[in-house]
């Protein structure tokens, strides 16, 4: 399983168009000037796989995820992530699995779609366990946080190994 495609609409610095990013297996580099939107791409991936803390996406509240220029009434954020499932790492008999998360208007409530069909969040949590974040989210290292992993105390380090087992 790996990320094959990301489609972003109205999320943070991505405007009213559908921005598509095709990924491949192996090492993918994202580069560009300061403030261009690199970290926002990682935030969009976290959003799509169900991240529920605005702070983890570097905003104070869900409303701040809507692109600035959106008219408060018609706001829509939509992020779709497509996984390559040829190895059937996700227990579904599909070569690709697409998870879509939409957030509308003022409530900030999200709805999820799996390969186009509406599903509840709990339903996908079970199924997508393998792609949703690792225990302690150790597969996601945000900007400026890498040295924190070496600053864990010995209790924290033991707990991390315990959680995985």
């Amino acid at each position: 399983v790996h990320i094959k495609k990301l489609e972003v609409y109205g999320f943070k610095s991505f405007g009213f168009r559908n921005t598509v990013v095709h990924f491949e297996n192996g090492l993918v580099a994202i580069t560009g000037p300061n403030g261009s939107g690199k970290s926002n791409i990682l935030d969009a991936i976290m959003f799509a796989i169900g991240e529920n803390s605005p702070k983890a996406m570097r905003v104070d509240k869900f409303q701040s995820l809507f692109h600035d220029s959106q008219n408060p009434g018609h706001r829509l954020v939509r992020v779709s992530i497509t996984f390559d499932n040829l190895d059937r790492g996700i227990p579904m008999d599909e070569d690709t699995v697409t998870l879509t998360r939409e957030m509308e208007g003022l409530t900030g409530d999200s709805q999820y779609l799996l390969n186009g069909k509406k599903v509840s969040k709990t339903a996908i949590m079970e199924l997508l366990e393998v792609v949703l974040s690792a225990p302690n989210k150790l597969n996601i290292v945000q900007q400026g946080m890498i040295t924190r992993i070496s600053e864990l105390n010995s209790e924290e380090r033991r707990k991390i190994i315990e959680d995985i087992v």
Binding site: V28, A29, P33, P135, N139, I140
Partner: protein, 162 residues
């Protein structure tokens, strides 16, 4: 429970020893604070960069902590592989030699798991098999795909956006 933990602990420890030695020429390993009662104590990570005395990972320099943290993360991977890793400018505080070491080990490990890495360093971009340049245009992010780093040096990606 203790048996499962110890089996996991030993696998992470041996992966750390092998990867750190290969990467830096120094030594690193885990150590139990309380071997008789494992869950009563923690797990220490002792690290010695070449020419230096072994120290806890908390007492290293910024760049040394980055290398050590990456080795620890990848060792956990050997226990429970994640299908993908997201890393945001983890090479920012590294000197040229450690930037090379880091991108070398990430390229190796990216054979088993996808690694998506935000970086501002040319030498890291050069190791990637797929490159995206991101730049702002009237406050909206644009993405451009490059197949080969030599096509577009970082400075050019930066310039595209201005």
């Amino acid at each position: 429970k203790k048996e499962m933990f110890m089996e996991a602990y030993n696998r992470v420890d041996s992966d750390i020893r092998a990867t750190f030695a290969r990467l830096t020429g120094g030594t690193a390993h885990l150590e139990l604070e309380n071997p008789d009662d494992v869950f009563a104590g923690g797990v220490m990570l002792l690290v010695a960069f070449p020419g230096k005395v072994a120290r806890e990972s908390t007492a290293l320099s910024g760049g040394e902590k980055t290398i050590t943290a990456t080795v620890f993360l990848l060792a956990l991977q050997s226990l429970k592989p994640s299908p993908f890793y997201l890393m945001d400018e983890v090479d920012a505080h590294l000197d040229a030699q450690n930037t090379e070491r880091l991108s070398k080990v990430l390229t190796e490990r990216s054979q088993n798991s996808q690694i998506i890495m935000v970086t501002l360093k040319d030498s890291t971009v050069a190791k990637a098999s797929l490159i995206y340049g991101v730049y702002p245009r009237q406050g909206v992010s644009q993405v451009v795909k490059y197949r080969n780093p030599s096509q577009v040096p970082l400075a050019q990606i930066a310039a595209e956006g201005s």
